[in-house]
């Protein structure tokens, strides 16, 4: 019967051309949306590696202040902040923390292999505690690391797995440009830009605020005790303004930064998905109408098949089968185009598995859609009285 249906549908390909085209385009749109959703879902399901709750980010801009004075006042501000009972930890680090929409990507290399990673410079040892980072192997920085000739770094687990599969990276060296870095610790993860992004690799390097050879950082990450009054924010800003006279300061809560980051990604995605849903709804209505029309045109054929030995359920299955065959024609063409994405590496950020999953999801959804659209018209076809249908011709 399957062979018969393929033959029948192939012979009717001209009449069904528009339906095949409709299925083909629906598949492409679904493939696009599925790829996007799966890409973000896959990214979001990878471990974040830090905790954003009760973390505040205080950015300070010192404008024309001399470097030595800036370093001194920053140290003073840190000391003052750490003295507040509402603050658990405060860490001085680079501005490219999570959800800040800035990243500093560099290439780490080892044994001919390269990996892009975000580097965050920390200027004390508190960043791990502020962000709730968990060590897997080795240790976090201490004060000596800032002046060590070994250029110590702490890397994420995926960097270790990429460069040293099956073995510990602690004590081993990797290259950043022409300089060697020694790995002293491995952390579970640290998604540098946020959960939706595909960049999972990060590493940390330690400099000292008092070391004039390295750039002074101006971002303070503060871990607030749970239940702290929100008005404490004003006190922090006041402290920063008093110590850093003439500084421009900006205090943001990391959960707010995260919300804004998610909005930026999710809103276009939701709009795209809604547009897609409307498109698919239109296609579904179109398919339903075309099927209904086709079945009405084929009453005598239905009557004939019933006379030749088809039961009502055979007719029902035949019409479902026909639409599935039609969908297969559209999907074969669609899949041909879809597989070009992973084959030609058109969007390199999206891994091949995501494309394959998106193709399978779209194929499944299209088959489900066409079956749903065909259920009622097919049921109507099956209910046609054979004697009446034969008489209609």
């Amino acid at each position: 019967m399957i062979r018969h249906l393929f033959k029948l549908m192939w012979n009717r390909k001209r009449g069904n051309f528009l339906m095949i085209v409709e299925i083909f385009f629906s598949f492409l749109v679904l493939f696009g949306v599925s790829t996007l959703l799966l890409y973000f879902y896959t990214n979001a399901s990878k471990p974040l590696g830090f905790k954003y709750d009760n973390v505040w980010v205080l950015q300070t801009y010192s404008n024309d202040m001399p470097d030595a004075e800036r370093r001194e006042r920053t140290a003073q501000l840190l000391k003052q902040l750490r003295s507040y009972p509402q603050i658990e930890h405060a860490a001085l680090a680079g501005p490219n923390g999570p959800y800040t929409r800035s990243s500093s990507n560099t290439e780490l290399a080892h044994d001919g292999m390269e990996r892009t990673a975000n580097v965050i410079t920390v200027q004390d040892n508190a960043f791990k505690d502020v962000m709730g980072i968990e060590m897997v192997d080795g240790r976090w920085f201490n004060d000596q690391d800032a002046f060590s000739n070994r250029q110590p770094i702490v890397v994420t687990k995926d960097v270790e797995e990429a460069f040293f599969p099956g073995e510990s990276a602690v004590g081993k060296t990797v290259m950043r440009g022409d300089t060697e870095r020694t790995i002293i610790g491995v952390i579970t993860a640290f998604k540098p830009t946020g959960e939706m992004d595909d960049l999972t690799s990060s590493y940390f390097e330690r400099t000292a605020l008092e070391d004039t050879a390295s750039r002074a950082m101006g971002t303070i990450y503060i871990k607030i005790k749970p239940g702290t009054n929100p008005q404490f924010e004003e006190e922090v800003l006041e402290t920063a303004a008093n110590i850093g006279t003439g500084w421009t300061t900006d205090l943001q809560q990391m959960p707010d930064l995260r919300r804004s980051y998610l909005k930026q990604i999710l809103i276009p995605m939701i709009i795209f998905a809604i547009v897609c849903a409307f498109l698919i709804l239109n296609v579904a209505l179109g398919l339903f109408g075309v099927l209904w029309h086709n079945i009405n045109k084929r009453h005598s054929e239905i009557g004939l098949r019933r006379a030749l030995g088809a039961s009502a359920s055979s007719v029902y299955k035949q019409f479902i089968g026909e639409i599935m065959v039609l969908a297969t024609f559209g999907l074969v063409i669609g899949c041909f185009f879809a597989v070009q994405f992973p084959l030609l590496g058109i969007i390199q950020e999206v891994p091949t598995e995501t494309f394959i999953q998106a193709i399978l999801t779209s194929v499944f959804l299209i088959y489900t859609l066409v079956i749903l659209c065909a259920l009622y018209p097919s049921k109507q076809a099956a209910a046609i009285h054979p004697a009446i249908a034969l008489h209609e011709d």
Partner: protein, 232 residues
């Protein structure tokens, strides 16, 4: 072979009740070639549909090959139609998007355990029987009316049914073509012993059969043997 007992068929709409068949009692023995005549709307086609299990009578029983049909379910009726009955229609009812060979194969699609090659082999044999071996790859719209009806006969034959129900098989054909089709049917009846029930408006064709039953207003008004059948 076919026995109709006290058949009544009433078509009911909200406003009108139409009696299509009334108190029909008819027995068609195995191997008989019976023709049914009567004016348009007298219930001939309804009778044929009832015999072919395409329509359920309002009352009365249909017996096919000793089996009382009244209680059968849709699947069982479809199975009996497929195994025991072949249909030939005035307007051929060929599927235009299928080749001649595929059209003839259709009944076997609803029969389990027959491979594609077997279907094709049997379809070719059936087409050979009606003299259309050279047209297997043609499509219905490339054939003449007579050829189309021969395809329809081949389709009716392929399942080797015991009964053929023909609803005005020569109705759309000119006299020469009609004669050709009639000869094929007569041959089937005489050589293969197939029971044939044919509805016709053509007295000449009817007189070539063994028995003629006339209908009027849903009722059987005459039933006569045609004695010169053997000389046809």
């Amino acid at each position: 072979m076919i026995t109709l007992s006290n058949i009544e068929k009433v078509y009911q709409t909200k406003t009108i009740e139409t009696v299509a068949l009334q108190n029909v009692n008819l027995h068609v023995p195995k191997g008989e070639f019976l023709s049914i005549m009567g004016p348009s709307g007298c219930g001939k086609s309804t009778l044929l549909n009832t015999m072919g299990l395409l329509d359920i009578p309002t009352s009365g029983t249909v017996e096919i090959d000793g089996q009382v049909i009244r209680t059968y379910k849709d699947k069982e009726l479809a199975h009996i139609r497929n195994e025991k009955i072949g249909f030939i229609f005035q307007s051929y009812h060929l599927v235009n998007d299928l080749s001649v060979l595929d059209n003839v194969e259709l009944p076997l699609l609803y029969r389990s355990g027959i491979s594609a090659s077997e279907r094709s082999k049997r379809a070719k044999l059936a087409l050979e029987k009606v003299g259309l071996s050279a047209r297997t790859k043609h499509y219905p719209n490339q054939l003449s009316g007579g050829q189309r009806q021969r395809v329809a006969i081949a389709r009716a034959l392929i399942g080797q049914p015991q009964i053929i129900l023909a609803d005005e098989p020569t109705g759309n054909l000119d006299s020469v073509m009609g004669e050709e089709i009639m000869n094929i049917l007569l041959d089937l009846n005489k050589v293969d012993g197939t029971t044939i029930v044919m509805v016709t408006h053509d007295e000449g064709m009817a007189l070539k059969t063994e028995r003629l039953v006339r209908f009027f207003d849903g009722q059987q008004v005459s039933d006569s043997k045609i004695f010169d059948y053997a000389n046809v």
